[in-house]
Homo-oligomer: 230 residues x 2
Amino acid sequence: MIDSVAIDSNTTSNKDRAQAAGPRRTRRVRMTGAERREQLLDIGRTLFAERGFEGTSVEEIAAKAGVSKPVVYEHFGGKEGLYAVVVDREMRQLLDMVTGALTAGHPRELLEQAAFALLDYIETYTDGFRILVRDSPVAQSTGTFASLISDIATQVEDILGLEFKARGFDAKLAPLYAQALVGMVALTGQWWLDVRKPKKAEVAAHLVNLAWHGLDGLEPKPRLVGHRRA
Amino acid sequence: MIDSVAIDSNTTSNKDRAQAAGPRRTRRVRMTGAERREQLLDIGRTLFAERGFEGTSVEEIAAKAGVSKPVVYEHFGGKEGLYAVVVDREMRQLLDMVTGALTAGHPRELLEQAAFALLDYIETYTDGFRILVRDSPVAQSTGTFASLISDIATQVEDILGLEFKARGFDAKLAPLYAQALVGMVALTGQWWLDVRKPKKAEVAAHLVNLAWHGLDGLEPKPRLVGHRRA
DNA sequence: TGCCATACTTACGAAGCCGTAGGTTACGGA
DNA sequence: TCCGTAACCTACGGCTTCGTAAGTATGGCA
C-alpha cells in the first residue's frame, strides 16, 4: 500500500536536477546525502505524528521518500535512530522557544510570553507537537512529553519560587502551581489544534486572564500587554 | 519470554478449587466464562497501561492469565475487542465520577468537587487513567482521552456558560476556559501520579485556589470549603 | 455411570516488519 | 574518457504476532 509517489519535496531546494520531462519515464531522483537525510526526517516526522512510532514502518518511510529501506538504515541506523533525531530536534525547538519567552520581565509578562510561545510552537510545528504528546518507543521515562513538560515546568517553578518567597508563600508549592499552569496552557493548546477558533493571541490573552485573575476576577476583554515580536 | 506464571489471581474469588496441594503438580485452573473474562480484563488493563496497545500481545495476556491464546479470542474476538471493553469501562467510571461531582452547588464548589473527583479517579484507577491518557489503536478520533476530556469539558462549559451570561461575558468563550480548567486539573493529576507529594485534598485545594483567585490573588493557605463525602 | 456442554489445548498458516549482505548505477573530478 | 566513490537497489533471513482449525479434558447432570 504505497500511497504517495517518489518526489515529495519539502527539503527540495535543488530538485530541479530531476527534470520533469526526462527521457521517457520519471528519471530516478538522486539526492545528496544531506538532502536525503533531511527529507527522511521530514517524512518521518509526518508519519510518526499521524501513526505513532510503532504504527510506522521503515518501509513506509522509505517508500514515501521514493527510496528503498536500506537508505534509511544507512542514514539513521534504524527506526529508533530516525525517531530519536526527530524528537530531539522538536524538543530543542520547543524548549528554545519557551525558554526564550521566559527570560525577562514581570511575572505576568512572562506568563503571557510563554503561553504565546507554546501556542506558537503548536501552530508552527504541529506534527512535532503531536509526536511529543504521544509516547515514545518503550518506556516513557525520558524523552517523553511528560519529561519535556517537566523541563518547562521546572523553569516556571523557578520563577514562581522567587515570587512565592517574596510574597511569603510556601515555596515548596511552586512545582504544583507550575505544573498546573503548564498543563493549562498545554492542554488548551492541544484543544486549539483542532478548533483554531479564536486567534492565537486571543487564546493567549484569555489564558493569562484566567491564570492571573482567576475565575473570580476575570476581565471581560483581556488583552496582552506585551508587544509581540512575531 | 514468559515472565509470570499461571495463577495470577486478581479476580480470584473462588479460586480455592485449584487446590494448592493437588495430586502432584499445580492442577490446572478452570474458571467459569464470566470469571475468566473478568480476569482477562484485569490483566489486559494492567498490560495496556504499561506497554500501550501495540506493545501488548495477545499471547502475553493469555500467558499471564495462565491460558492459551484462543481463550482470549473466544471472549473478545481479538485484541481490539478486549481493549475496547477496557477503555469503555474506564471512560464510564471516570465520567460517572466527574459528572457526579458536577451536579449541584455554587460554581466554586463544583470546581472543587470536580477537581477532587478527577484526582480521586487517578488515584484509584491509575492503570485506567494511564490507558486513557495514551492513544488508542489507529485513529484518535473517538475513544481517546482527547475526546473524553472534551466530554468532561463540555459539562464544564455549560456551567461556565451560565455564569458568563450572568456576568455579561461572551459566552462563546466558555469552551476555551472550560478546556483550560480541565487541562489544568488533568495534567496536574498526571504529574501528581508520579510525585504523590501533597495529599489529594491539598492538591485539589491549591488547584481551586489558582483557578478561582488567579496568581494575582492567591491565598497562602487555601482550604476546600465543601465537605468531602469520600 | 455415562453423556455432553463448556472450558481449554496444541499446532499451524499467513502476514508484516526489522535489519543486512551483496550487488548496481550514476555523478563528478582527473 | 575513465574511474572511484557516494547513493541506491534487490533479495533474503529471522522473528514476532495475529488469528484459526481441529482436537482434548473436565465437571455437572440425567
